[in-house]
């Protein structure tokens, strides 16, 4: 097994003014499960394809283990790939599909057989070994594609949206299985997805990308609780973090955040940071996650200085939780996640308390998190 190191990696396509990937620096540790996540066109797949050797690196160095592999062909990089558009070899049965790479590398028949059967057992496809791909379901095909990668026992697995062709239920199952599998095999894995739930549940670390730049690299918890900018804060979490534009002012020895329909007090610890950084009197963006807006009487009593009043546009009850779509907190709709047993209904006016200890404030111009930079 080995780590992967990217040093100042750029990808520029001929005729394009802007680089598709800009100055990517990453040190992926041995056995780590790293997820590259971001919206379409952010450069995550291009980065993975450069690691795979399917795209030339325009600038920078790529190491797998201690070996510089910029000019090494994919087959010689000791990696195994599973891509969104994985295609099984249609004229071979499942066994032959999994054995092909090993056969090419001149493994002994007995070794090939051992590896294929072991991988098939792990993936629970032993009973399918004689079948041709067209006689398999989508989930089974996906397992065979994984099996083809596993038998190689590579230094690194590269996966590009491997679950996106599966339906939601199967995707959930396979997500857990891939996580279990890579932990069991202890193989370094780089996984690309646009789905932040996949990223949050699978990754040891997550790299959030936008417009070819890395925005933040951190553990899922760190990303969720300490996003460095508005983009990361908005991208990670579902429903997304709410953003309310407003301004900060000093009043009676306290720092207030004011916006349309909002006048709440910033806790002293955070207020001190705002004062020291000179944000009092300036425009900022308040970021608050849906679960940090409370309707419980106990919370309202305990937080009299952060109470807002809002009108419930829609109350969506999912059973275990309820989403309130609220008007009156700033100019845009704000979503609150409350207990599913709540009796709140559409059209009602409600008092809610914002947990300002969990709130984030972003510089209006740079969009950076004031408390994290």
């Amino acid at each position: 097994m080995a780590g992967v190191r990217l040093e100042g990696i750029y990808k520029r396509y001929p005729g394009s003014e802007r680089a598709s990937v800009t100055d990517v620096n990453l040190d992926i540790k041995d056995k780590e499960f790293l997820v590259l996540v971001g919206p379409s066109g952010c450069g995550k797949s291009t980065t993975l394809r450069m690691i795979a050797g399917l795209e030339e690196i325009s600038e920078g160095k790529l190491f797998i283990g201690d070996r510089l592999v910029n000019d090494v062909a994919p087959k010689d990089r000791d990696i195994a790939m599973v891509f969104q558009s994985y295609a099984l070899y249609p004229h071979m049965n499942v066994y032959q599909n999994m054995a092909f790479g090993l056969k090419l590398r001149k493994f002994k028949k007995a070794d090939i057989d051992k590896r294929v059967r072991e991988a098939a057992k792990i993936l629970d496809i032993e009973h399918l070994l004689d079948r041709k791909p067209k006689a398999l379901s989508g989930g089974q095909r996906q397992r065979v594609a994984l099996g083809r990668a596993i038998v190689r026992e590579p230094q690194v697995f590269l996966m590009d949206e491997p679950l996106s062709n599966l339906d939601a239920k199967l995707r959930g199952q396979m997500r857990a299985e891939i996580s279990k599998l890579t932990k069991r095999l202890e193989t370094t894995t780089i996984y690309v997805t646009h789905d932040q739930i996949e990223a949050m549940t699978m990754g040891d670390r997550i790299v959030v990308m936008k417009d070819g730049f890395i925005q933040q690299t951190a553990s899922p918890e760190e990303l969720y609780n300490h996003p460095v900018n508005i983009f990361v804060a908005g991208f990670i979490g579902s429903p997304s973090m709410n953003f309310v534009s407003g301004s900060l002012s000093e009043q009676g020895g306290e720092v207030h955040f004011k916006a349309s329909g909002v006048d709440i007090v910033v806790p002293e610890g955070k207020a001190a940071v705002l004062r020291s950084k000179g944000y009092v009197g300036k425009e900022v963006v308040l970021g608050i996650r849906p679960e940090d807006i409370h309707e419980e009487p106990v919370f309202l009593e305990a937080s009299p200085k952060t109470i807002v009043s809002a009108n419930i546009e829609v109350a969506e009850n999912l059973g275990h939780e309820m989403y309130l779509y609220l008007n009156g907190i700033g100019t845009d709709t704000v979503i609150a996640r409350v207990d599913g047993r709540s009796t709140l209904r559409d059209g009602a006016t409600v008092k809610l308390a914002i947990d300002m200890n969990k709130a984030h404030l972003f510089d209006k111009e740079t969009e950076l998190n004031i408390f994290e930079n």
Partner: protein, 372 residues
């Protein structure tokens, strides 16, 4: 053939009779004896028979133009000088070109050169000359695939390596012909299309197009992980290489060319999926641009990346709203909102067949114009 003057001069210098003739492959076999089986036949090559020497002046489908030196062996210097005189280049150049190649590669390379020569001349149909037929299977139907390696300029694939890989992957009967720079023609056996088990169970499930697509997708995946990386591939319907090779190469090249222009993110180019694109590409560039300019004036919205991706997915899923929303990971209402917005700004409702056709054409033209 050579001029009478030159023929007379050669006779005078070499002090032997020099004649020109057209000889069939059977004549060549008789002349050379058993060594004919392992011999390669090429322009500028000398072959020796019983007391005479023949110089191959030109190759045709079923015969060769020969210059015969009667009753006289030629030493290497004489051979070189004569080739220089007749072909206006040293014979070593002819030889070095194929140096180090196996017999199979040499034959395949010659066939590739002949193919290119025919295409350069504007020939669109024609049989392969008998001496260039690589295998008897060329007279039966085979699966043609064109491979163009993308990838790094520093990584070059050798014929032997790719040939071995394809034989392992497709079949021992697969044949590889190098065409140009990083371009290869592959002929796979028909057994790839036949699946004994499936024939017994449910043969009606997959169309020929499905089968061909699956083969080329699998091949693409295999080449990406086991060869030099990314490549462009085109496949077309089975045919007999001996009589259809020129047309096949032309069709496959056109598919890759048109496919890359209209669908640059795709690596698999299927002629039956590119019919509308081929038709649009045949329209003169000026007219295409004029039509596009007129259409785009009505809305810049078409070319916004989000709208482009939405419409591409919508059309690829046969204008199915639910499936498109699912594929794009957006709510159905979000998709409907985008389609309504397009209708509002352009007057075109892609949920109606008539408008969908127009928008599809505008999108295709935009892609190809953008790539100029």
């Amino acid at each position: 053939m050579i001029s009478l003057d030159l023929q007379k001069q050669l006779e005078y210098i070499l002090n032997c009779s020099v004649v020109t003739s057209n000889r069939s492959l059977e004549d060549m076999y008789k002349f050379m004896g058993p060594s004919f089986e392992n011999a390669t036949i090429e322009k500028g090559q000398y072959i020796e028979g019983d007391g005479d020497v023949w110089l191959i002046h030109d190759l045709h489908a079923d015969y060769c133009e020969i210059i015969e030196f009667i009753g006289r062996k030629l030493n290497p210097t004489e051979q070189q000088l004569i080739v220089m005189l007749i072909f206006n280049k040293p014979s070593t150049i002819v030889d070095n070109h194929y140096a180090g190649m196996s017999k199979q590669e040499k034959q395949a390379t010659k066939l590739g050169e002949w193919l290119q020569e025919q295409i350069d001349r504007g020939t669109t149909t024609g049989y392969i000359p008998d001496h260039l037929v690589l295998a008897n299977s060329f007279y039966n139907d085979m699966l043609p695939i064109l491979l163009v390696a993308d990838g790094s300029t520093q990584l070059k694939g050798s014929y032997a390596e790719l040939d071995k890989l394809l034989r392992s992957f497709l079949s021992e009967d697969a044949l590889l012909i190098p065409l140009g720079h990083d371009e290869w023609l592959i002929w796979g056996p028909m057994t790839l299309l036949k699946d004994e088990e499936a024939e017994l169970e449910h043969e009606e499930d997959e169309t020929t197009e499905d089968l061909l697509t699956n083969i080329v997708l699998g091949l693409h995946d295999m080449l990406a992980s086991e060869w030099l990386g990314e490549s462009q591939l085109a496949i077309t319907y089975p045919n007999a290489p001996a009589k259809m090779m020129i047309e096949t190469v032309t069709t496959l090249r056109e598919s890759i060319n048109i496919g890359r222009k209209f669908h640059p993110s795709s690596n698999i180019h299927l002629p039956w999926m590119l019919r509308l694109e081929a038709l649009l590409y045949a329209i003169p560039e000026a007219q295409r641009q004029k039509y596009l300019e007129q259409s785009l004036k009505r809305a810049e919205l078409f070319v916004e990346p989000e709208m482009l991706a939405t419409l591409d997915t919508f059309f690829s899923l046969d204008c199915n709203v639910s499936e498109t929303a699912k594929k794009l990971y957006i709510h159905r209402n979000t998709l409907l909102y985008r389609l309504d917005k397009l209708k509002q700004e352009t007057g075109l409702d892609v949920r109606l067949f008539r408008d969908a056709v127009l928008v599809k054409i505008i999108l295709l033209l935009y892609k190809v114009t953008k790539s100029y």
